[in-house]
């Protein structure tokens, strides 16, 4: 019994860990420098916890095996070991808290974007993303670079004005509403996140970042994609019965392709 149990614990341990080593089911490649940093933090955590995982499960199996065998004499009369206890506690504290200190600068870079030291680039592309059951609405400011005002009374899903853009307001005439996100490669993008109804969550796995869209609040994310391609935007906060199909695409394209596309979209307006 003792050896069988130890073997089962060890086999389960190795089987659980193996796909993390072979990377059979894995994250898609990151497409931002920030994403690469998050991957580094992830890898350190994986190694740290992986070693503890293997050691702890191995020790458990070993104890079960060794002290479950037939042995002569009574069990040892030990009540603890303060030195080991302190050593173990300190090690756990250093590893666990250390990991969080180590990775925290990436969090700051991702989320402290309102700070003075985190000024955005001048030519960043700002896109307003409004979640609603169960679609993503993307708004581009258009040629003038200014978002027009919105009015809740103008909201009309069927009429093609899902966020209520006031076309007669300053800068509103050339705002572009689309259901997909297209951005040029290597240019900073600022996503302004809003919601019309319930909570949603803007998540692009390749960007490694997500943020809830909260009605009544404005969220902001910045990223600079460095690889062209088509990536999926998925909703990661339960938003109702169509939650699973609330997806859209992020297309990262060349500067030229982006200019052509935005010009084409502007034509549809008139």
């Amino acid at each position: 019994m003792s050896f069988a149990l130890a073997i089962v614990v060890w086999v389960i341990t190795l089987a659980m860990a193996a796909p993390f080593v072979t990377q059979t089911w894995w994250m898609p490649d990151s497409i931002t420098a920030l994403g690469d940093e998050i991957d580094v933090a992830f890898n350190y955590t994986l190694i740290g916890t992986g070693v503890i995982f293997l050691l702890a499960q191995f020790a458990l199996g070993y104890a079960v095996w060794q002290f479950g065998k037939k042995r002569s004499g009574p069990a040892s009369d030990t009540h603890g070991n303060d030195k080991l206890e302190i050593l173990w506690t300190t090690a756990a504290l250093v590893i666990f808290v250390g990991l969080t200190f180590f990775s925290y600068s990436v969090w700051a870079e991702t989320r402290f974007i309102e700070q003075k030291s985190m000024q955005p680039t001048e030519d960043r592309l700002v896109i307003e993303v409004t979640g609603q059951q169960f679609v993503w609405n993307m708004r581009y400011a258009g040629a003038d670079g200014v978002f027009g005002p919105t009015d809740i009374d103008l909201i009309d899903d069927a009429g093609g004005n899902p966020v209520g853009v006031d076309r007669s307001g300053a800068g509103g005439a050339d705002d572009i509403m689309v259901g997909e996100m297209r951005v040029p490669v290597n240019r900073e993008v600022e996503v302004v996140l809003k919601s019309k109804d319930v909570l949603h969550n803007f998540f692009v796995p390749e960007l490694r970042i997500k943020l809830d869209t909260v009605p009544g609040l404005v969220g902001k994310l910045r990223f600079t994609p460095n690889k062209e391609g088509r990536y999926e935007i998925v909703c990661s906060e339960l938003c109702g019965l169509g939650h699973y199909e609330m997806t859209a695409f992020l297309h990262v394209v060349s500067e030229q392709e982006y200019d052509d596309w935005i010009a084409e979209q502007a034509e549809y307006l008139f």
Binding site: S2, Q57, A75, A92, F96, E232, V234, L238, G240
Partner: protein, 607 residues
């Protein structure tokens, strides 16, 4: 009144006044104020609830792999949710919501504390009953009302709520955002009633532990089971009040036109919603202020049982008793200041994330102490592989596996990727769900001979252990890989997302569902074993068949009405005196004085 023979194990006792036994069937078994009957009532409620919760999880698993397959019978029971037996996406969400709610509240919160705690806390501390027996009865019946309210949500118009067990507004607050109506109200009402029941229970546990301990039973001689029930009760007292308030406010948002959690300017399906000034994030703070301690409410009693059982069947005293007590206190205390780690991506201020993250990582430290000391307890022991021992070893393994994924999620940087994916589902199921349930398996098989005077079948329990231990790893192990893809949770199907279909999510889902079906089947073996052993199990000879040390093993099995027959033993030693050097036997009961333990007591080293 029946005379209760004092065990020869009891070196000395104090006579206290006795309480008359109830005569009628109703006062004895139904509206009983006896903590043991109430404990069993809680356990039975949890057994019913766990099978309901398991059936729901099976439906969820089936919907994921066979979205269009008509299931026989289902269409008859739920003609709207599952027309012709094909589950709609909202039915999937309803099952998911109810699965989480039933399991967290009606199983993980009731059985370990209300069930085992109620039954064994008074006996382990040498009390005739809980401090407030009538309050205790009220707790149970209030809990039952809460359960019935929750079950009623299945059968009202619109069916069960779909906003998840966390019930985030505005989805849960604005009826227009879901197809639900009364279901969500019943859900909230059930939660509110449950909170009241838990508050009453918590109060009772705290007073009982502080006031009713036998002579000589200092706090630092309490069995670790009692410590965990005590700390769990404190957590319950501080946490459930907050959830109660939040639940009432949300009920008012839904029904009284208030706007605590709903901001202005909402437009649902082209319709403007008449609310203004509320904050959806406020609900999340209140909910998780309760929700995180709730995790420890579920798992702490399991830790207590595991410590208790590991020591007993390793025939060795617990490694670092004091460290274990301080670790439980630290987990309980820290548990109240980490709730923000559920909200890293909620839109809450990003600056607070660092504090929540560091505090969260700190909880890893007492958890590491516990793991280290469990292994240390077995080290050098003489392990007896009884079924409770197997479940406890399983608990340790699951606790390690489920705990370490928390190191990823506790860092906001990495949580950015894993938040709300199956990685989280794997994490909390392993640690809060399955590990806690292994604690219950250990508790039930360990105490069964005391409760019913008979053993559960060891063979059947062991088969159940192997199947379930492997089964839960086969279910929740692969969920980590789904999380890597990353598969968002609460998706009724994977058809909407290209990378899931291409990334192998379908195969993993099929594997998980198959493993879930096998694991569920094994639970019927446990149920059969449990029910049958009550009347046909092998008789437990003597009062102390496991050769254990705590007070419950000094009284008859099953225990008489007032536990000790008015003769409360004195306590002379700590709870885990196994294999003492120079002792006559390899265990010394708490009620044994040195004369009873050592052939030459004057040579004993003392406590």
């Amino acid at each position: 009144m029946t005379e209760v023979q004092v065990s020869p194990e009891v070196s000395e006792f104090t006579e206290v006044h006795r309480h008359p036994e109830p005569k009628s069937f109703w006062s004895k078994y139904i509206f009983s104020v006896d903590h043991k009957v109430i404990g069993i009532q809680y356990l039975l409620l949890a057994v019913v609830a766990v099978f309901v919760g398991m059936a729901l999880s099976l439906l969820v698993r089936l919907r994921l792999i066979l979205p269009d397959y008509p299931l026989p019978l289902l269409g008859t029971v739920f003609p709207i949710g599952a027309p012709n037996g094909v589950m709609t996406p909202e039915f999937y969400l309803a099952m998911l919501t109810m699965h989480g709610t039933v399991m967290v509240f009606m199983v993980l919160t009731t059985a370990p504390q209300g069930g085992f705690g109620n039954y064994f806390l008074p006996i382990q501390i040498g009390a005739a009953d809980m401090a407030f027996p009538r309050l205790n009865m009220l707790s149970f019946w209030t809990t039952l009302v809460s359960f019935l309210l929750l079950m009623a949500a299945f059968f009202v118009e619109g069916g069960a709520p779909i906003s998840g067990w966390t019930g985030y507004p505005p989805l849960s607050a604005v009826p227009e955002a879901t197809v639900q109506g009364l279901g969500q109200d019943l859900w909230l009402l059930s939660i509110a009633v449950f909170c009241i029941a838990s508050l009453l229970g918590a109060l009772n546990f705290i007073v009982t532990t502080l006031d009713l301990r036998a002579k000589g039973l200092t706090m630092m001689r309490l069995p670790l089971t009692c410590w965990t029930w005590f700390v769990t009760a404190i957590l319950g007292l501080l946490a459930f009040g907050v959830l109660l308030a939040a639940g009432v406010l949300l009920l008012m948002d839904r029904n009284a036109g208030t706007s605590f959690f709903v901001p202005g300017g909402l437009v649902v399906s082209d319709k403007q919603i008449d609310h203004s000034g509320g904050s959806p994030i406020l609900w999340q703070h209140l909910f998780w202020f309760f929700g995180h301690p709730e995790v420890y409410i579920a798992i702490l009693p399991g830790m207590g049982v595991t410590s208790h059982v590991l020591s007993t069947f390793a025939r060795k005293t617990i490694f670092g008793y004091k460290a274990m007590v301080y670790a439980v206190l630290a987990i309980g205390g820290l548990g109240f200041v980490v709730w923000g780690h559920h909200m890293f991506v909620s839109g809450m201020s990003p600056y607070s994330a660092f504090v929540f993250s560091v505090l969260t990582m700190c909880i890893g430290v007492p958890s590491a102490i516990k793991t280290f000391n469990w292994i240390g307890t077995m080290w050098g022991g003489r392990i007896r592989f009884t079924s409770p021992m197997l479940y406890s070893i399983g608990f340790v393994s699951l606790f390690v596996s489920g705990g370490l994924s928390g190191i990823f999620l506790g860092q906001p940087t990495i949580d950015l990727y894993f938040h709300d994916t199956y990685f989280v589902v794997a994490h909390f199921h392993l640690i809060m769900g399955v590990a806690a349930i292994f604690g219950m398996f250990a508790g039930l098989t360990f105490w069964f001979p005391k409760m019913f005077g008979r053993f559960m079948s060891e063979t059947q329990s062991k088969i159940h252990f192997w199947a379930t231990f492997a089964g839960v790893y086969l279910i929740f192990g692969p969920m980590h890989y789904l999380g890597m893809l990353p598969h968002p949770r609460r998706y009724a199907e994977i058809t909407g997302v290209d990378y899931l279909e291409q990334g192998g999510a379908e195969g993993l889902h099929a594997f998980i569902t198959a493993a879930a079906i096998l694991t569920v089947l094994a639970q019927f073996l446990f149920l059969y074993n449990f029910v049958k052993s009550i009347y046909a199990g092998k008789e437990a000879k003597g009062r102390n068949p496991w050769e254990a040390t705590t007070l419950e093993w000094a009284i008859p099995s099953p225990p008489p009405h007032d536990n000790f027959g008015g003769k409360v033993p004195h306590v002379y030693r700590g709870p885990y005196d196994f294999s003492l050097k120079g002792a006559k036997r390899d265990f010394a009961m708490q009620c044994n004085d040195d004369k009873a333990v050592f052939p030459r007591p004057e040579a004993a080293s003392g406590d």
